[in-house]
């Protein structure tokens, strides 16, 4: 992926990033600082040479940078941004997982929120057993304890 094409009010300086599978990306500072990590690097003046990101692969990094670019665009309206986000996060699970991990690693609060919200929506209708299976969690309640907990929170089951 090469540098952004839309003009931005920025110093015009670019950051070079290198994914864990050695793909390099050039990105405008104004876009990169959506990530708190890059924000500090830019502020501290540490940006010589490509910044290695051993926890993010090229495909994911490309997507993340696309999102950052969109969100750094001063001309876009809130409605357009919401529509964009809805489409952006509608991806298959493996991609969603990678985006979640990358947003966390790169400390991009808004993207992390978007991804978490999506996962929450996927699990909110699940039974406790389904949730345990999904996340490989051991049920450490005795059957009596589990029944107690269920009764205590019975209102949440609905009609």
């Amino acid at each position: 992926m090469s540098s952004s094409s839309s003009p931005m009010q920025s110093t015009g300086r670019k950051l070079k990033l290198k994914s864990k599978d050695d793909e390099t990306f050039e990105v405008e500072e104004a876009v990169a600082v959506k990530s708190q990590i890059f924000k500090y690097m830019v502020e501290d003046g540490v940006s010589n040479g490509p910044i290695p990101l051993p926890n993010v692969n090229g495909k994911t990094l490309a997507r993340v940078l696309q999102w950052c670019q969109k969100h750094a665009d001063p001309t876009i309206t809130e409605d357009e941004l919401n529509k964009y986000d809805a489409g952006f996060i509608d991806v298959d699970q493996a991609v969603l997982y990678d985006l979640l991990m990358a947003a966390n690693y790169l400390n991009i609060e808004e993207l992390l929120k978007l991804a978490c919200m999506r996962v929450a929506d996927m699990i909110k209708g699940k039974s406790p057993d389904e949730i345990r299976r999904t996340f490989n969690i051991k049920n450490d309640f005795t059957p009596e304890e589990e029944e107690e907990v269920r009764k205590e929170n019975a209102w949440a089951l609905g009609p």
Binding site: M101, G125, R132, F141
Partner: protein, 444 residues
């Protein structure tokens, strides 16, 4: 996008609305079951615990409480400081609603009860509330058994529901988080009042309560003279009803609820219609003219995405303008009302037929508005963002309780608030400190 109208006489209705007629009865299939997407455990079992906790912070409260059955650690999250700290930082607002099956709290209704000696038989303090999720169109029943009798629900903010004592005199106020089962009482107000209006706003760091009007100038006479305010915040500032203000002359707000927007409490003033505003920080009341004030019927105020909206039926008999239900937004620093939405005419015809002049109430926050029709269990939901109107399926919990007396009508009628379910209310910690210092006898 949405046009704003200053002269709506020739407006064209937004064509992108949809409305659905009432769903055919809940026949065993609950509106709460959803098909959930299959999740690949090979992927998700690798999710680190801290990120999974963060995901849990985004769950709407019923799902969170169901998830407490998963394992002991998840059960205990509700009491975990580190989880709650994360929750307070990242959790989204759930703009839901809370309704009560209740004798109306309007003044006229209460007077009827007081006068007729109905008190004994009709002492139906609602022990339960009905939680409504406008995203998934789902109902839940939550208990208010911890609230003592002699109190009525008055307002809600930041996950807390506020109850006020019915008895004339200085007022006792109780704040309750129904999903946590927590109850805390505020110190008594100072002036004796009958049925004052109450405004509440709660944030993670502060709380403001304003109690206004119905000053008892003698044991049998009330007048709208003053308001008193309560404030507490993490900065250490507090005012235990010591902040008082005078109401504008000749105002009449009929024990209305007050809506908080951007530093002010607002409530409807009647005859003629206007909007009373209380600037909390400056402690000053002012009066704002209402739009089309001579032609309004059943006006309500609501908060919507940070703005104040006035919702009302409009009846204009002189000109050849069809009756309608309109929504105006207060703009330009509280000086101009701009019409932002109008009920589609076809839907209005249905609505008017059901409502038949009995009146209706509106509550709302975020993107959602609910209109409940008096004397009926019918309610409309408006998603103001998507411009979608729909009839809400009746609450499955409030059906069938009757008794063949005059009160059957009340039983189905829902009266409620915009309510945001929250797992934690940090400001109640401040209240704990406060009430442990002041020795107020419980006014039970």
């Amino acid at each position: 996008m949405q046009e704003t109208f200053h002269h709506p006489a020739s407006m064209t209705l937004p064509s992108s609305y949809t409305f659905a007629t009432t769903m055919s009865g809940s026949n065993g299939t609950t509106s709460n079951t959803m098909t959930t997407p299959w999740m690949d455990r090979r992927i998700w079992s690798k999710l680190p615990q801290r990120l999974l906790d963060r995901v849990l912070s985004f769950l709407p409260p019923p799902a969170f409480f169901r998830a407490r059955s998963v394992c002991k650690r998840w059960y205990a999250l509700l009491f975990s400081d580190s989880f709650l700290e994360l929750y307070l930082r990242v959790s989204p607002h759930h703009h839901w609603f809370l309704f009560f099956k209740h004798k109306s709290t309007l003044k006229s209704y209460i007077y009827r009860d007081c006068g007729g000696g109905d008190q004994g038989t009709d002492n139906r303090r609602p022990c339960e509330g009905y939680l409504f999720d406008p995203n998934d169109i789902a109902w839940y029943r939550i208990s208010f058994a911890l609230v003592p009798s002699g109190f009525s629900p008055a307002s809600s903010s930041g996950g807390l529901v506020c109850w006020i004592s019915d008895e004339a005199g200085p007022k006792s106020i109780i704040l309750c988080n129904p999903i946590l089962g927590s109850v805390i009482q505020l110190p008594l107000t100072l002036k004796p009042r009958l049925f004052p209006s109450l405004g509440l706003t709660v944030s993670p760091t502060s709380m403001d309560v304003t109690v206004a009007g119905d000053d008892m100038i003698s044991p049998y006479a009330v007048k709208n003279l003053t308001a008193e305010s309560f404030h507490i915040d993490v900065g250490g500032f507090y005012s235990i009803w010591g902040t008082t203000s005078s109401l504008p002359r000749l105002c009449s707000h009929e024990s209305g609820r007050m809506v908080y927007v951007d530093g002010k409490f607002y409530c409807m003033n009647y005859n003629p219609f206007s909007v009373l505003a209380h600037d909390v920080a400056a402690n000053i009341w002012s009066n704002i003219q209402a739009p089309m004030r001579r032609f309004l019927r059943s006006p309500s105020l609501i908060e919507s995405r940070g703005n104040l909206l006035l919702v009302s039926a409009v009846e204009k008999s002189k000109l050849n303008v069809p009756k309608s239900l309109r929504l105006w937004e207060l703009q330009s620093f509280g000086t101009t009302w701009v019409e932002v939405e109008r009920m589609p005419q076809q839907l209005y015809i249905q609505f008017a037929e059901l409502e038949g002049g009995k009146g209706f109430e509106c509550v709302g926050h975020g993107d959602f508005i609910v209109i409940t029709i008096r004397g009926s269990d019918k309610a409309l939901l408006l998603d103001i963002c998507g411009k979608k109107w729909q009839w809400i399926p009746p609450c499955p919990y409030s059906q069938g309780v009757g008794g063949g007396n005059n009160n059957v009508r009340d039983c189905r009628e829902l009266h409620g608030f915009a309510y945001e379910p929250r797992l934690a209310n940090p400001v109640t910690g401040l209240l704990d400190q406060l009430t442990s210092l002041s020795f107020q006898p419980y006014n039970g």
